[in-house]
Symmetry: C2
Subunit: 142 residues, 2 copies
DNA sequence: CTTTGTGCAAATTCTTTGCACCAAA
DNA sequence: TTTGGTGCAAAGAATTTGCACAAAG
């Protein structure tokens, strides 16, 4: 983590490790709730600080996929995401990276410096499709 | 608008027309501020209600591109968006739709019903790149 | 008259800020 | 001994909810 020019701390390590170990694209609050039992002095502010710092340094990615809250991804290799509008689950989508680069290259406005590209699918996952004929949706809008 | 199974009202028409006339991908508040002078009884609640209703019916698109607030797009033809992290401007990105469809087809998790795909670029637009060597960023995280 | 839309006020929720205290370099 | 991290309490901002009234079918 020093390689990103920021100090290592117990809290930052825990957040980073959590994101690497859990491929669930958690929100700040989910990370807080998961870590709090083992770090009882932990505060939500530190989780927000840490996630912002790590994302600014490019160590993790912040996902704008859910209008309710940000989700975070410890995997910085380019890939897309699927959000289930019924249960809120987020799943990775693998891309053919060269094809994707070809599609996206030179697409940004002239002269713009692109820092990131996100590809987001929304819909109903197979589990919700089958089980939940009458669900209260996590999101009503796509 | 009746074709979407919802009633037409002065307020809904005004929102719909505003989104068709302005390709700036405004937020709820920007729409409210723009319409309020000509509809002095207008409330923000109605703007939110209307945007949610129109988006649920598929008449407009809600864009998850900005973690600070939702933006709305009256253009429902598939295309991507670029957000400038310095000034917050959102611009359309045209795609080669067949290529895009080929890239995205069958990419969602097995059995999932996809309702929408969003492609989002973030970076610094040409204007900010030149003018603002020392800006206070609209977003710090991509 | 029954269903649906509007708009006020209040509530909710996610996230940031100000600040004091601590810890590492 | 200065720079940077943590965490509490409070603030801020976007959006939703409860409810009463109005309007359309």
């Amino acid at each position: 983590m020093e390689s990103y020019g920021i100090r290592v701390s117990l809290q930052r390590l825990a957040v980073m490790e959590y994101l690497i170990a859990h491929k669930t694209h958690p929100s700040a609050d989910e990370i807080f709730s998961a870590l709090y039992p083992s770090i009882p002095t932990l505060s939500r502010t530190t989780i927000y600080n840490t996630l912002n710092t790590l994302a600014e340094q490019g160590a993790i990615r912040a996902l704008d996929i859910d209008p309710r809250q940000l989700h975070y991804d410890g995997d910085t290799v380019p890939h897309g995401h699927f959000l289930c509008m019924s249960c809120g689950m987020i799943e990775d989508i693998a891309f053919d990276v060269p094809k994707f680069e070809e599609l996206t290259r030179n697409r940004a406005p002239k002269g713009a410096a692109v820092r990131s590209v996100q590809v987001t699918y929304k819909g109903i996952c197979s589990r919700c499709n089958i089980e939940n004929n009458d669900y209260r949706p996590y999101l009503t809008t796509d």
